[in-house]
Symmetry: C2
Subunit: 345 residues, 2 copies
Amino acid sequence: MKTDVASARALASAMLRAAGMDAQPAARTAWALASAESWGRASHGLLRLPYYLERFSAGGSDPRAVLRLVRSTAVTAVLDGGNGLGHHHVFEAATKASAMAREHGLAAVAVANSGHCGVLGLYVEPMLDAGLVGIVLSTGPAVMPPPGGSSAVVSTSPIAAGIPMRPHAAVVDMAMSAVARGRIAASAAAGEEIPTGWAFDADGVTTTDPREALAGLLAPFGGAKGFALALVVESLTAGIVGPSLATEIADPLDGSAIAAPQRIAHLVLALDPACLDADGASGDRLERLAASVAAAGGRVPGARNRHTSEIADDDELTIPDRLASSLVALAASLGVDPPGSFADR
Amino acid sequence: MKTDVASARALASAMLRAAGMDAQPAARTAWALASAESWGRASHGLLRLPYYLERFSAGGSDPRAVLRLVRSTAVTAVLDGGNGLGHHHVFEAATKASAMAREHGLAAVAVANSGHCGVLGLYVEPMLDAGLVGIVLSTGPAVMPPPGGSSAVVSTSPIAAGIPMRPHAAVVDMAMSAVARGRIAASAAAGEEIPTGWAFDADGVTTTDPREALAGLLAPFGGAKGFALALVVESLTAGIVGPSLATEIADPLDGSAIAAPQRIAHLVLALDPACLDADGASGDRLERLAASVAAAGGRVPGARNRHTSEIADDDELTIPDRLASSLVALAASLGVDPPGSFADR
């Protein structure tokens, strides 16, 4: 179906509110889901909402979670996410890191005991808005083995990095896995082989059979180097922040784990270029760097994604009909009147 | 020839002193070169010494460079390397970052206007010694194009990361290029094809001919993802710190550039796990993470490299005869008596 950003946000927010979330976290989660749709990242969009609500009902995640400060210095903070969803938590962490880094040049804010937070690249916006470099890391369920290994020890280990550049910020947003599991599922559905290097079977052997891959393990991008970076991400999130290692985080694809808390860790870093710039020319240099990428025939990552403040309420979104129907039915079961274009279904 | 660590350090230090370096920077550079040999990284070891000395003579690099503080906050600092060699500069930056992070939980120290610094993984030691996570980034001459591009815009964009883990620290030390240029040169010498994904010809087209690759461009590991990370490294070093972008840094393989200043930027980050740890259990979690890698059949990166303080003076090193002869001849031309086992040649 065709809908628009405002309707998607309103539906998601109302459903999350009905499930017990406070207005602000619900609105932030809805912003994250609708922005993911707008950025063409449907796998982290409204598709996730039924699963989030199911986990609330089952007790795997707490809709009433309150983000709480555990400890802090002038430039570091640890927040506890109360086993709630991650979107609001990571946005608040990024906002806090930005404020601290504006004052001191550098800041790190960790979120412990959190949940899925969707598109990581969204959370560099508070840093970019303040003229800062932002880096966001997260853990998640273990899906990748070490080179030569046969069981998963690290998550897809996503990294987002926002670099203030003219005319557009660079926003890198990538997992350390070669591809997302969804892409392998699509190959399986289409009956196509997958390339070598995407995945392993359940014994850790490289496979080109997508069904074996889905029952097996994801491969890090670029082999041992990708794994090494994933291990750094896992160390900086699950290892240091905690409380769960990737190996201890319930897999959303495992239905029996719906009631199991995930207790995911995230880490946000903010750096002020002005404090690390030897000659005051960093703005010009970053602009020349971006220009050199274009001149070489390349593209600065993320330049195609609009800042979420530029996404208009009436921007059109296309949602799969089946998803729209299930959201409307789910809304009804929560006593929510479907807003906007969803009301017509 | 067979030699030992103490002789290699003494020879390098004496030659650098004779070329005009002060005792402390010369000793630190010699430590870096001998440690690289000991870690099996001969490409960043004594092999580089004749080139460093040649650049000193030609005026491309300043042996008398003094590391100078440009600006600082409680948790950030920018040092100017005076167009000298990088080894001493990066070690001092790491030492300063460690002290600041011990006090405040987090620190970033940039080095502008520096030179080649050898094995990046060496410089996480001051952080690991203080119980901190250490991350070190550097730029260098441009060798990699963006995806679909035909000219180089980023360097190999190396990253080192040290994570305090029991029983051994994890030390990741990797370039964002698929392989080092030296490995392609070895294939060319052996008359062997190189795999797809290692390099491009001069027009940016993937090649399996090592001679075309040597005249062309290196490929980022893992394609577009590797390039995206390289762009982050280039932004955080050359872009923000400066003064040279990778595209402006003289290529050491270009003999005509021997007199051209490189003015390379490095960045060191130090984080105290205790300030980002929600429950005080990060030490145990990191230990369990390391154990899980081993249990899965993998290996924690860098665990085979001994801490440089554990490298004994009389540890044996094997140096190619031709290199040893040229070092001894070069020493004689500098009025240096070859020390230890080099005296017998």
